[in-house]
């Protein structure tokens, strides 16, 4: 500090006050257990981000009502990353300084990626629905992907399209997002490995709504199925515009299409659409999943915005379970517990984590959208019906 004696007293005073105001409260082992949420609360993905925040806060409140964890209350710290890398990096440092044990989020792979090394260096658990392969590359032991990886979904999808439904001409459509392009690429690769025939791979501009031009082009290629890897707000419209254009092809959508709004947007065209995803809470053999969705709806007056709300909720539940089981908030112990879990009963199916932090063992199913907008498992055939 000696070097900087020349700086005027005013500046020093300002620095000092700023420093005091911003210095984090001392970390106390007996205080509340802090868990962070890093999510896009504003901006394009605000719907998803606010869903994650609500789900995590709800889970914390439910646990606190039961006396918290290890006799301590759970406190949630939220940081809005707007889905942007730079904001995500700032959020990560902020949450690390808040001494959180674990962070739920973020929603976009890009924001999760920018935050990942910071959490890893600080040894803070990060559980996010990000599925980009880049997230696994550095082998950080703090990383726990809570959504099933694209590779598993792609394998199931290709098998379903080629071997189960015997589609002969498959058209693939994606947007430019990291998630959707990754999934579409993997699906195309796996279809080819299964000796299927991909007639075209096209792109849409997410949110541009005007998908008729690209669909008109696809129509002229006479595919018997259109696979779309992007999000429901576009997927519903794609389905509606397919029918409006008189396209006969079936519609199969990736997991991001599963949302109540899909059927509403597609309207009368929705029925018969297929969506590939992990099982919905209603289809799981254990009641905790159904209960959570009901409580969420009762508290917030709406269903969770998407399946990713639930996968992030699963991340939160797994962290809480780890704390309870190890009776500790030490990162090393929690990470070891999470990595060694044989099977975790999630709200989105039973799963475990690989050494790389990849979600494994998630069974996929193909849902058919019904006339009333509800979903029914179509493949694998339900056992008891």
């Amino acid at each position: 500090m000696k070097k900087h004696q020349e700086c005027s007293k005013i500046v020093l005073a300002v620095c000092a006050t700023l420093g005091m105001a911003l210095a984090p409260s001392a970390y106390a082992a007996s205080g509340p257990i802090k868990i962070g949420v890093q999510a896009p609360i504003t901006g394009t993905y605000a719907d998803e981000g606010q869903g994650i925040e609500r789900a995590v806060k709800l889970l914390a409140a439910m646990q606190n009502a039961k006396g918290g964890l290890l006799g301590r209350k759970i406190e949630i710290k939220v940081c809005d990353d707007q889905g942007q890398a730079a904001q995500a990096a700032i959020c990560a440092r902020q949450l690390v300084n808040d001494h959180v044990v674990a962070v739920i989020g973020s929603y976009t792979s890009g924001a999760a990626l920018a935050a990942e090394p910071i959490y890893a260096r600080a040894n803070v658990i990060q559980t996010s629905d990000g599925t980009s392969n880049e997230l696994l590359k550095r082998g950080y032991k703090t990383w726990f992907g809570n959504a099933a990886p694209n590779s598993a979904e792609a394998k199931f999808t290709a098998h379903y399209l080629v071997d189960v439904r015997h589609f002969k001409k498959i058209a693939v459509l994606t947007d430019h997002s990291s998630f959707a392009t990754g999934l579409a690429g993997a699906v195309v690769r796996d279809i080819k490995a299964d000796h299927g025939n991909v007639v075209d791979k096209s792109f849409i501009n997410a949110g541009s709504q005007n998908f008729s031009p690209v669909l008109t082009k696809l129509k002229s290629m006479h595919p018997d199925v259109l696979y779309f890897s992007g999000y429901y707000s576009d997927g519903g419209l794609i389905r509606a515009q397919m029918v409006q254009l008189g396209m006969k092809a079936a519609f199969v959508g990736g997991d991001a299409n599963q949302n109540v709004a899909f059927a509403k947007i597609a309207g009368s065209a929705a029925a018969g659409s297929i969506i590939v995803n992990v099982p919905a809470p209603a289809d799981l053999p254990y009641p905790v999943a159904k209960q959570f969705v009901a409580t969420y709806k009762a508290k917030y007056g709406a269903l969770p915005p998407s399946v990713f709300t639930l996968t992030n909720a699963d991340g939160m539940r797994a962290v809480m379970q780890a704390i309870a089981a190890t009776k500790s908030v030490k990162p090393a112990k929690l990470e070891a517990y999470l990595h060694s879990m044989k099977s975790f009963q999630g709200l989105t199916g039973t799963f475990a984590w690989s050494a790389k932090g990849e979600r494994t063992g998630s069974p996929f199913v193909a849902f058919a959208v019904q006339k009333d907008g509800s979903y029914k498992i179509r493949y694998p055939a339900p056992k008891n019906d």
Binding site: A46, G207, N210, S212, P213, V214, T216, S220, S233
Partner: protein, 300 residues
């Protein structure tokens, strides 16, 4: 052939919507030399107002065509009032300032309206009721066109012709044109420039609200960030046609819609926007003030 006609229909429908929104940009620009970046958000606010009118007036039942008309009326009135208020608060104090100050004020207004929509209606996708209009479709030469598409194309055309006639063949329209050429001179001629500006901020947003509601009815969804996308496209359409020029905005909107359709349909869907923007830049290099813009030195 069917594919080509279909792309033409696709392009015209979305082009009609772009044109309606572009008119608001171009009229405001013509009179005030202001890029009203909040215009797209006003349009989408119009869609939300219309949706709320529809669902609350229907009271849980299914809204019919009469209610749809009511939704248009309410939405147009509310957005016109909002447009005038915006001008009073955010732009009028800046009329004599550097014009970029008003542009940034407009960016602030855009952010305020967009996030205001999120706070009032929530961040989720809102879905418009289905079957507001007959689901009839016609087939011609292997292409299909729906009732809603015909309605959007025709209504946009009628509104644009009406606006053109109003601006070119009425006394008040003459006042608007005079103010667009030279505000001070217009004032000396006894034209109430404030009234002209207010009228521009009524007509532009009103047309935008209709465009916004068309988007809602056609695509049946609305969410808070949509305004930015449509606003940007409409602004580009206005520039393409020659900003400040009313027929130019119409032409620009329709051309932009067609560019989009043909780029995705015949060239490459992954480079769709790049092709559209590339064409735009090339056109501007050939005609530096847009297709119908006048070649005059810019007022700074």
């Amino acid at each position: 052939m069917g594919t080509f006609i279909q792309q033409l229909i696709n392009g015209l429908t979305v082009g009609g919507i772009f044109a309606l929104i572009a008119l608001g940009y171009t009229m405001v620009y013509g009179v005030m030399r202001l890029i009203n970046f909040a215009h797209g958000d006003l349009c989408i606010l119009g869609a939300f107002i219309g949706l709320t009118t529809l669902t609350s007036a229907a009271g849980g039942g299914h809204p019919g065509a009469g209610l749809l008309l009511l939704a248009f009326v309410v939405s147009v009135i509310v957005i016109a009032v909002a447009g005038v208020a915006l001008e009073r608060i955010a732009y009028r104090p800046l009329r004599k300032a550097d014009r970029l100050a008003a542009v940034v004020s407009a960016l602030g207004a855009s952010m305020m309206i967009e996030n205001g929509i999120m706070l009032v209606w929530g961040p989720q996708v809102h879905v418009f009721p289905s079957n507001l209009l007959p689901a009839t479709t016609w087939h011609l030469a292997g292409a299909t066109i729906s009732f809603v598409q015909v309605m959007i194309i025709l209504a946009s055309l009628v509104l644009m012709i009406a606006l053109y006639l109003f601006v070119n063949h009425t006394r008040f329209g003459t006042a608007i044109r005079a103010a667009a050429i030279d505000q001070d001179a217009a004032r000396l001629m006894g034209i109430n420039v404030n009234r002209v500006i207010a009228s521009v901020f009524i007509i532009g947003p009103a047309l935008g609200a209709i465009g916004g509601l068309f988007i809602g009815i056609y695509y049946r969804e609305a969410y808070f960030t949509m305004g930015w996308t449509y606003g940007l496209y409409a602004f580009i359409a206005a520039i393409l046609g020659g900003i400040g020029n009313i027929p130019g905005a119409m032409l620009g909107g329709v051309l932009l819609g067609l560019f989009n359709a043909f780029a995705a349909g015949y060239v490459s869907s992954s480079w769709q926007d790049a092709i559209t923007f590339g064409l735009l830049i090339v056109i501007l290099l050939v005609r530096p003030t847009g297709l119908l813009g006048e070649r005059v030195a810019e007022k700074v």
